[in-house]
């Protein structure tokens, strides 16, 4: 048996889904569309049934890709996801609007169970609903009162699902009801008007309000949350707290993960006999997996906060106050949280665009999110700033290095907004942007739902994006480990030979060997090959190698330079690395790292994609390679042009 879970947004549909399935759920695909399919299983009397949680809609007629899925499945009884029973969740506090969708599904002759949810909230508002009278109006459906937040009604729901009338053919709620075509607006309007006429008559009979209507607490709270000043102050404060947590708290487990993975890979390489296999595991696979796992704390924390905001109802208010500001840029009020999240890390940022229902606005948000300066750029920025920007104070107040750092962040933000504006003009869609958003009533968040969101996001990241990240890590490892014919061995032999006659310590010799091996590997050769291309930006082949290796992740840039200059990566301080970089000279005797080449590099890192994890996540979220490749392309073009302009102006 297949169960379809349907309902308006904000009716507690996901609470019902979690209540029924527990942990037995996963995310899949609806074939051919970029919409996630949340699927789970539910056990009723020893039988296992599958249940699909469809996107929340107000009617069966679609205006977006998410809603299209509902129409496609319900209108086609040959569809492989066509349900044998529809479980429709309705909000008891707003029975009139909710009955529209329910009556539509009822009239499709799909066996129905109606879960009248949020009983407690309805009671609090003095709303009483006569279930028996409702059952008379929908004789073929089972109606169950639930309060999914409190776990109330599960057994009766299961029972109703099991005993739901599957003989189907019954008299429709709306006489002569017929499913209209997606583009037939006239028929849809007539249907909505006719349905509401019937529903209003029914609701008059079944609904009693025993308490007088008063200005709700929600409206009072809203007046503060959308206030022209307090509204933005409160939003900024909430963002600040979230970032504080992500930077201060997430770095602890991240360092721990980093440390454990490098210890583990050292342990493995000491355990296995020396050779390619040991290298592959210790330097390719384990750091590759580490490169996936290291993002887990940030993703978990960010989605913990985002789903708290969403569950409580606050996120809709953020959309409300930001919508007008973001609209001219082709973005949406819902783009704000993903873009802000990208300052910590673009990966959860891109994943958070799921809430944007308009495909074009969502796509634009995804494409520009990695331009926001993320935390992985910090090590690159700080090294380069310390290297080429003098530590001066301007006007007795501004620290020049701090100003430059601020400038880099501002440049990223500016580029993101500008590109969004350009994309708005270039990407064509049939869908027209609009905002019809329910401001749900405020409620305390439900921890189980928050936990499920975090768990789902992590699982999708590790399983889907993780594969791509691991694959790219292994490719990069292979390119850094192998070189053409015997070139590497020859070079290594030479270094070891000359080391014998010098006073170098064993560690110093090993560093020299590592450097010479990297220089003669495929990556090293590639770095040298691209030198003519990057010379106009002020870079040499050593920087070229680091640019290629840091495609894995930006912070790898620092580690790569440390290997090339054969200095010990002493974890963050990099004091010795900075001295080496300062001393480094070009063939013509001028220093490699000048103000011009340094700034050019910084600007390159503001714009360039340089993050395979983001690439993998964009591929996962847009469900094709087209958009991530376009994204890499325009970001590279931006990086190259920006860096070239900076170098030309400053040199």
């Amino acid at each position: 048996m297949k169960i379809a879970l349907l309902g308006n947004p904000n009716t507690g549909k996901s609470s019902i889904f979690n209540l029924l399935t527990g942990m037995r759920q996963h995310v899949g695909n609806f074939p051919g569309v970029t919409v996630d399919k949340k699927e789970g299983t539910v056990k009723i009397k020893g039988e296992t049934y599958s249940i699909i949680d469809f996107p929340g809609t107000y009617s069966v007629y679609p205006r977006s890709k998410d809603e299209q899925v509902v129409y496609d499945v319900l209108s086609n009884s040959a569809h492989k996801d066509y349900p044998s029973v529809a479980l429709v969740v309705a909000d008891a506090t707003n029975i009139e609007r909710n009955l529209l969708l329910f009556s539509q599904i009822y009239d499709l002759n799909i066996p129905c169970v109606l879960a009248l949810n949020m009983r407690d909230l309805a009671k609090g508002k003095g709303i009483e609903i006569d279930i028996t009278a409702l059952e008379v109006a929908f004789p073929a459906a089972k109606i169950v009162e639930t309060n999914a937040r409190a776990g109330f009604g599960k057994d009766r729901l299961l029972n109703a699902l099991e005993t739901a009338d599957r003989k189907s053919v019954h008299a429709p709620f709306l006489p002569n009801a017929k499913l209209a075509a997606v583009e037939d607006y006239k028929a849809q309007e007539a249907e909505a008007a006719a349905r509401f006429e019937h529903i209003q008559l029914l609701v008059q009979k079944i609904k009693k309000v025993t308490l007088p209507k008063k200005q709700s607490f929600d409206t009072k709270l809203d007046r503060i949350l959308v206030h022209p000043i307090f509204g933005y102050v409160i939003f900024s404060a909430i963002l600040l707290i979230i970032f504080q947590f992500i930077f201060a708290v997430a770095t602890i487990p991240m360092d721990l993960i980093d440390g454990s993975f490098s210890k583990f890979s050292a342990y493995i390489s000491s355990l296995l006999p020396q050779g390619i296999l040991s290298d592959l595991i210790a330097q390719g696979i384990i750091p590759g997996i580490g490169g996936v796992v290291v993002f887990v704390p940030q993703i978990a924390l960010l989605f913990f906060f985002i789903s708290l905001l969403e569950e409580s109802g606050y996120l809709a208010r953020v959309v409300f106050i930001m919508d007008r500001i973001m609209r001219p840029l082709g973005l949406n009020g819902k783009s704000v949280v993903p873009l802000m999240s990208s300052v910590a890390c673009a990966i959860p940022g891109v994943m958070a665009t799921r809430t944007i229902s308009d495909w074009k606005e969502r796509l634009i948000t995804i494409l520009v999110a990695p331009l926001m300066s993320c935390s992985a750029r910090i090590p690159v920025y700080t090294l380069l700033i310390a290297l080429v920007i003098p530590n001066k104070t301007l006007f007795h107040f501004f620290n020049l290095q701090g100003l430059v750092l601020f400038g880099l962040y501002a440049l990223g933000l500016f580029a993101a907004l500008l590109i969004a504006f350009i994309l708005k003009q270039t990407i064509k869609t049939k869908e027209k942007g609009y905002l019809l958003l329910e401001l749900p009533s405020f409620k305390p968040p439900q921890w189980k739902n928050v936990g499920m969101v975090v768990w789902e996001k992590l699982r999708v990241f590790v399983t889907d994006a993780g594969k791509v990240i691991l694959a790219i890590s292994i490719i990069l490892w292979a390119m850094a480990t192998f070189g053409p014919s015997n070139q590497m061995q020859l070079a290594e032999k030479n270094v070891r030979q000359s080391a014998k006659h010098s006073t170098l310590s064993k560690a110093e010799t090993e560093q020299k060997v590592a450097a010479i091996r990297l220089e003669n590997s495929y990556i090293g050769i590639l770095g040298k090959t691209i030198e003519p291309v990057i010379r106009p930006l002020g870079y040499d082949w050593k920087i070229g190698i680091s640019l290629i290796t840091s495609f894995a992740a930006r912070e790898v840039f620092v580690g790569s330079l440390a290997t090339i200059y054969a200095v010990q990566d002493d974890g963050g301080e990099n004091k010795r690395l900075i001295d080496r970089l300062r001393e480094d000279k070009r063939a013509d005797g001028k220093p490699t790292y000048t103000l011009a080449s340094g700034v050019s590099l910084m600007i390159f890192y503001v714009f360039a994609m340089q993050c395979m994890a983001t690439l993998a996540v964009v591929k996962r979220e847009t469900k094709s390679w087209k958009w991530p490749l376009i994204q890499i392309g325009f970001m590279a073009a931006l990086a190259y042009t920006g860096a070239w302009i900076a170098y030309t102006l400053l040199a």
Partner: protein, 82 residues
Amino acid sequence: MQKLLSTIRPGQHVTVASIQDSFLKPKLMEMGLVIGKEIEVLFCAPLGDPIAIDVQGYVLSLRLEEAALIQVNVAGQSKDFS
């Protein structure tokens, strides 16, 4: 008298008179904005757009662009009448 919903000030109660033909018309109706429905404009966002309205039972926010599709009847002599 009839006005566009986009011109109604917060705090005013109105009823839906008609909705201009557009791809959003069925959508607006499905969200409860059927003819004769009483609604109240609750508040607007800082730049005056979008607005939030009470559609008897829930709060709906929509842009002025969407609100301008909706003709409403302003009950009696409103203070706005000038």
